[in-house]
Symmetry: C2
Subunit: 483 residues, 2 copies
């Protein structure tokens, strides 16, 4: 693939990025310090604060036409019926009709995080471990690091006095961790307006497969997230007084949750596996060359609890087969120690990762049908409901198009190695929306490593990934401009 | 039963109690304002503060020989290995060898409570609803109201200038909601020392069966509380990246928890039901006269989700059959909304209410055996452990002894009605310890109503129950002194 482009003289850019390292780390530190957790309604003002931080940064860097798009009231289920969605921040750097236009998407919201979950340091105070050269903090890798990366690329060009080789459009949202509510509509609406000259969309919101080799990603699983609500008594009850004489919602919920997936990861909901595209010989061959091993999986998971013992099975089950995870129960006792409570209303949470050719609506039907049947079997007097909280489709693209090849060249310049072309188990639903609404290709260009702990405790971003990531993003724009 | 004693002239005592109502409510308000949650390690200082409050009250009322018994370090499982148990407070009012000596037990710790659990007002700020004449707050009925009740009885006697008809010994503990750790040992140790002349033990730590008729209680279920720990990855993981390729602890735990009890309340652990004493015809007849109905159960539960539709079945399943409740899961996602996490370590909590003739140790064996078998079936690579958190035996006494009959007479004087003799579904493990170690009878003399919401949100104590309860406690001492 290196034949497609001549090597560009990008050393001055890379050197400038190295010089700006302290400023770039400071920028990320500021971003992490704002706990923009989109799933926690009480932290919604912090999500909005984060959007303002971005607007300030864009303004200082010289972006034009900055627009803060309000998305209105968040639809149910919500606790506060008037809860406002966080805005989408749009900005434009350059509008030369002779240049290509690249749209860069990122999100400025993060997953929940509490020190007591097991973090080594405060999750919303960036911790720079200089011995390991690692930056710790919620959002460091998902997705504040990459978002800051794009800003850093502009700052480096400004300092060098270099012109950006493309027109850059940024689109930063604040609800990615909570189903990207409102984004699909905005992209559809702006497709022929703010986004009208966009030639390509680039997203840095995923990770290397392992910890040593850069990757470019051409496929993602989708995610349908469900909740099962079982409601009995009017309030939590004392299990001594009421145990044995009322139907306990937890008993019903646990029974239903136990019928969804088995210990080998097999989904027990009838019909789901039947929708999965059959594995062709050609696809099977693709997994052979990928650099990965069960040892890398075990190292990333911190355990020896892999369900499959060879590389190809692991990759297939991460990328091209669905999975079902039981996330937890809202409303039940969740603290340490013992509480003799009968919870009155419990809400079981689970999600299914989707792949070609699972149709999202058909999946919902199968899930609802199965769970309704299982609840009916219980003959319970409790109230019961199952609902979809959010969904997002899977996505698969062409790894041999211009943008993937440009990114591969930049990666080679920075890391000295040809990247692996991979798919991913996680979902970035907006990928599909951009592709469909704008009619352009989407490139996933990850910055962080497979062990960064996105969504987990002690989330981190290696400084080398942050700084080389900035170089790769910048280099990619130059190669793509020449294509 | 009213033939056994002549009616005593207690009207001056009752009138004084009425006059002291504002002070008594103020005393309870102060007690509720101290969040003495024994199961929350971070609130342990508040439990200790509550013990000091009691010492101050006892001192001011003229108690002698007040002793604060330290119980040492709390045994595992604990987060802080040096956690100190809250002390037991002992006090003595009178020591006339010609009088009988009554030991009064109560507990000054409470269940956890958070406003966001659904409380109408702050749980640790007493709310006096004057329209309904009800006092709301955590501990109002369980067990701070009754504990304050005994202090109120002394205050009324002091004000009247009446001598207390018995010697009163108080024993107040701070770990009742967390297994009464350290109490058994203290009672055994003090049986021949501080408690040596005790003739009778009275406990006010349970509730009327319904909401209108006072009861005296001669039986209690026990409670064995267990946790199942399943541990997989080293930290919580992203379900997109790891879903389908590692064994998820939640899947194992939910599967095991689903094998413990069915929707009809039937315990599925083999051998447990076989240990239950058979129902005799005589015992069956006892349930006929009790004032109770499925409607009262539904009203107390706030739902129409009763497992049995006739009074006798309900009472039997509350009092003389075991039950198993699934309380919740520690370590899983428990918040509102959606979090796409694979929890790394989950701890399932459940308890079994025990009855004659279930042997506690035998029960543990059956539970451990069943759960180990169920886990083995899963062939899971995850780590696994099941353990007892705490246990307390069931208790049954003789409702026709002196103290029950004295309490019945006092109840008649105050409420104008013969109380029902009942058993209870909840556990007060110490009842059995006092009976065994001191070799005396124990009387359970409840103050609150069946709908008070002990262990639930909006816990309350009706002012009439509080004030008439004080009269009943006081009157009982006078009748018992004459027996």
């Amino acid at each position: 693939m290196s034949d497609k482009y001549d090597k560009l003289p990008l050393d001055p850019l890379f050197k400038t990025i190295d010089e700006l390292k302290p400023q770039f780390i400071e920028r990320l530190s500021k971003a992490i310090s704002i706990p923009s957790v989109s799933s926690d309604e009480s932290l919604r003002p912090k999500v909005v604060e984060m959007s303002k931080f971005l607007v300030d940064e864009l303004t200082q860097l010289g972006f034009q036409d900055i627009q803060v798009k309000e998305l209105g009231t968040q639809p149910p289920p919500v606790q506060d019926a008037n809860l406002q969605l966080p805005p989408i921040v749009l900005g434009r750097f350059g509008s030369d009709p002779k240049k290509k236009t690249v749209l860069v998407y990122g999100h400025y919201d993060v997953q929940p995080a509490l020190k007591e979950d097991g973090w080594g340091t405060e999750p919303f105070t960036m911790h720079y471990d200089k011995t390991k050269d690692i930056l710790y903090g919620r959002g460091s890798t998902d997705d504040k690091g990459p978002v800051m990366g794009w800003l850093n690329v502009i700052e480096a060009h400004n300092k060098l006095g270099w012109e950006l080789p493309v027109n850059l459009v940024v689109c930063f949202e604040g609800m990615e961790e909570s189903g990207s509510l409102g984004l699909d509509e905005l992209v559809a609406k702006e497709a022929k307006q703010y986004f009208k000259n966009v030639d390509q969309v680039t997203i840095s919101d995923n990770y290397w497969l392992g910890t040593t080799k850069p990757v470019l990603t051409y496929g993602l699983r989708g995610c349908n997230y469900y909740q099962i609500i079982v409601k009995g008594p009017g309030a939590d009850l004392h299990s001594g007084i009421f145990g044995g004489i009322i139907a306990e919602p937890m008993t019903d919920l646990i029974k239903i949750m136990s019928t969804l997936v088995d210990g080998n990861g097999k989904i027990l909901i009838p019909g789901v596996d039947d929708m999965v595209a059959p594995l062709t010989e050609k696809e099977d061959g693709l997994y052979d060359s990928i650099d990965f091993s069960v040892e890398e999986l075990n190292a990333a998971a911190g355990s020896n609890t892999a369900l499959h013992q060879n590389k190809k099975d692991i990759l297939k089950h991460r990328w091209r087969y669905p999975s079902l995870s039981l996330h937890g129960i809202e409303g039940a006792f969740s603290g340490a120690g013992a509480k003799t409570v009968i919870p009155s209303k419990v809400v079981g949470k689970f999600s299914i990762r989707t792949v070609p050719d699972i149709e999202s609506k058909k999946l919902d039907e199968l899930v609802f049908k199965h769970i309704n049947q299982e609840f009916a079997k219980l003959k319970s007097p409790n109230e019961f409901k199952v609902e979809l909280i959010h969904d997002g489709n899977y996505w698969v693209s062409d790894p041999f198009n211009e943008s993937f090849q440009a990114a591969a060249k930049a990666t080679q310049d920075v890391w000295g190695i040809v990247p692996d072309f991979t798919r991913e188990g996680g979902s970035i639903p907006i990928t599909l929306t951009f592709e469909k609404e704008l009619g352009v290709d989407v490139l996933l260009l990850p910055m962080g490593r497979g062990d960064d702990g996105a969504h987990s405790i002690n989330e981190k971003l290696d400084v080398s990934n942050y700084i080389n990531g900035c170089k790769t993003l910048g280099g990619y724009l130059h190669y793509y401009a020449k294509a």
